[in-house]
Amino acid sequence: MKRHLVSAADLTRDDALLILDTAEELAQLSGRAVKKLPTLRGRTVVNLFFEDSTRTKTSFEVAEKRLSADVINFSAKGSSVSKGESLKDTALTLQAMGADAVVIRHHASGAPARLAQSDWLHGSVINAGDGTHEHPTQALLDAFTMRRHLNPGASGNALRQGLDGRRVTIVGDVLHSRVARSNVHLLTTLGAQVTFVAPPTLLPIGIENWPCEISYDLESVLPKSDAVMMLRVQRERMNAAFFPTEREYSRRYGLDGTRMAQLPEHAIVMHPGPMVRGMEITAEVADSPRCTVVEQVANGVSIRMAVLYLLLGGAVFADGPADTPRTDSVETAQ
């Protein structure tokens, strides 16, 4: 495994399965009286959020606290970033404070990769969503949720299994979706087939080179899907008219009860959240037992614990040679 988690494409099948299996074990913790492990005691994790987030930030924070790490929350609002500080200076500041890992969400695609490749920080960089690029922990928790539902008995003896031969349909605003990008990499690594369904205007340039199929007709794809993932239309990133009206989008690409009925018996409906009811998903579908939105949030904590443990728990960096110990960053910064 690499030292950083910047892109889902960095994960080999073995890495991904290790994370999923570790998360499967850690998921047991939520049923316990004491939901805490001493594993990351004395390690400092900084949550560096330049963009608003409730789900991801809370999820990371819960995961860090359950592993007994010291958590520092740093949001752009109310910090020196709002006074014009650059990413580099923020990173150097965090390094001087001795951060062992930085969880970063940034509105610019590539910001986590910049941090990971620089020598500003010595710790691990975990991408919690950058612009329209990637959101690897979301893809991992989606794969985790699919594996639990689609591989019978996955919580017990079906560890080390991927999602081979499963068909996953991702519907909606692929163009602006970092979730779709991370998912297509990870799901392909795990052996699943991904089909995107979206208006042509909401598909990125170069998508023909992605390991996926493309369709413009939701009805024809649904009957052969094992999981359908609905994406939110990201109005805040839209600078042009990508479709005529919301009503038309909703009619053609939204998931309602009638369309859900076309899915095979075992198929699940997923959504990375936040949902816009009435737009890409109707309330009927969102509230149905086949919809795994709430479960995905719970699984997110387990996945993030697994990632933090595997990147930070050991003596050396996950990709480092065994004889170069993790340096205590405060000393090296001087």
């Binding site: 570790t22 074990e25 047991q28 004491v34 001493p38 594993t39 050991g314 003596a315 050396v316």
Partner: protein
């Protein structure tokens, strides 16, 4: 392999064979029934990896003796180890606590070799996060001495005085194809496991 420095490391020799191990498990099962007065509230927890297999065997014996199904579980102590910072992060094993939980029960931890005591310390920490047992006892197949913590076993299969130069290897049919306990020089084990054994069972070295 090619150079033989003196004193050359001794080859591992067998101290317990399959029948010995079976006898030891039976004896410990009887001791548990005797000391726990019928083993009414006993919960067996095997510590990964070989403690799990031993706990399963002990569970079978106890079922024969008492005619009841004693709750059986497994415990992975990786997240509680005190040497996590000294080695790369490793994969987790499956922890399974019996449905009845461990609150108010007599928990018997089962492991293959008792050495520094650090594994048991970690297991005790893990238990305190899972529940509050009435009491915790420890059953081991081999006690090889050299404790680094004030921990002792309640049920011991065999006391095996060893030197720190030696390594104790427990092999169980479930993972290693054969039941045996071997003692040999650690140098030899390290060297032979590189050269010969494709999948050596991990010798119990100081942690």
């Amino acid at each position: 392999m090619t150079t033989h420095q003196d004193p050359s490391p001794r080859a591992p020799h067998q101290v317990l064979d399959g029948t010995d191990i079976a006898r030891v498990v039976t004896r410990i099962a009887h001791e548990i029934v005797e000391r726990a007065k019928g083993a009414e509230d006993v919960v067996l927890l095997g510590i990964h990896t070989r403690g799990v297999h031993l706990a399963r065997r002990l569970h079978g014996r106890l079922a024969q003796i008492t005619g009841r199904d004693i709750p059986l579980g497994t415990l992975d102590i990786t997240m509680y180890r005190d040497d996590l910072r000294l080695k790369p992060a490793r994969a987790l094993e499956h922890t399974e606590i019996p449905a009845g939980g461990i609150d108010g029960k007599l928990v018997i931890l089962v492991d293959d070799v008792l050495f520094s005591g650090r594994t048991i310390r970690a297991a005790l920490d893990a238990l305190s996060d899972i529940g509050r047992p009435r009491a915790v006892q420890l059953a081991v197949l081999v006690d090889r001495g050299h404790r680094e913590l004030p921990i002792r076993a309640d049920y011991v299969g065999k006391n095996l005085p060893t030197s720190l130069r030696e390594a104790v290897q427990v092999r169980l049919a479930d993972t290693d194809g054969v039941d045996a306990v071997l003692v040999g020089d650690r140098d030899y084990t390290a060297r032979s496991s590189q050269a010969l054994a494709p999948q050596p069972s991990e010798p119990h070295l100081p942690e």
